[in-house]
Symmetry: C2
């Protein structure tokens, strides 16, 4: 299933590596880390985006990439587009080695700017 167009003005996208073969609970915790840290970050730089995102119902979309190179690439692309990128590095207590980049959040930010970067990625 591809990421579908939607009616939100603002959204947050979290992109997860598939190659780490993390369990469902592990993925959920990593995505939650990314989401919370990204909100704190955007709160310091773009309160207007955050307010718009809350008004939209804080939409979140979880997407996938095959591995680390693709995660790096989407993060770099988002950064070049001026979007706030928050990468989660695992502490390595379970399932993956310490310092592994497991996922990254883009936004909360304008949805069309995010779509321009992540529109070709598949839903997790």
């Amino acid at each position: 299933m591809s990421a579908r167009p939607d009616a939100w003005s603002f959204k947050q996208v979290i992109v997860v590596r598939r190659d780490l073969r993390m369990g469902t609970g592990k993925v959920a915790a990593q995505v939650a880390h990314a989401a919370v840290a990204a909100v704190e970050r955007v709160a310091r730089g773009h309160r207007d985006w955050l307010a718009g995102w809350w008004a939209d119902g804080q939409p979140k979309v979880v997407l996938q990439v095959p591995g680390a190179p693709e995660l790096d690439e989407v993060g770099a692309r988002a950064g070049r587009a001026g979007l706030p990128v928050t990468v989660v590095y695992d502490r390595g207590l379970t399932q993956v080695p310490a310092g592994t980049a497991t996922c990254l959040a883009i936004g909360p930010a304008p949805a069309d700017a995010i779509d321009a970067v992540t529109g070709d990625l598949r839903l997790l």
Copy 2:
């Protein structure tokens, strides 16, 4: 695998219903909704807990319950213990009917108080 004792002073626990058979990405988005909304809530009532939780590295633990009655029960127990509980009700755009309670967050709050409520639940 049972939820293990740990060294954190503060943590956030997110409890997820298993019976809804949500996909990994759906679970991750629901858990992230709970985590973010709960942080906003605790920021208004217990800034000291939030600060302690950030200092601990914002630990999150994702647990499971079989279904809605057990989710209600753990939420009620946490509420009676004076812990902040944030329930996520899905908007029903995908996978589950609108208004379905999919998961709930407890905390960020003192870890021992949370353990007294959720210590018997299994990791997701």
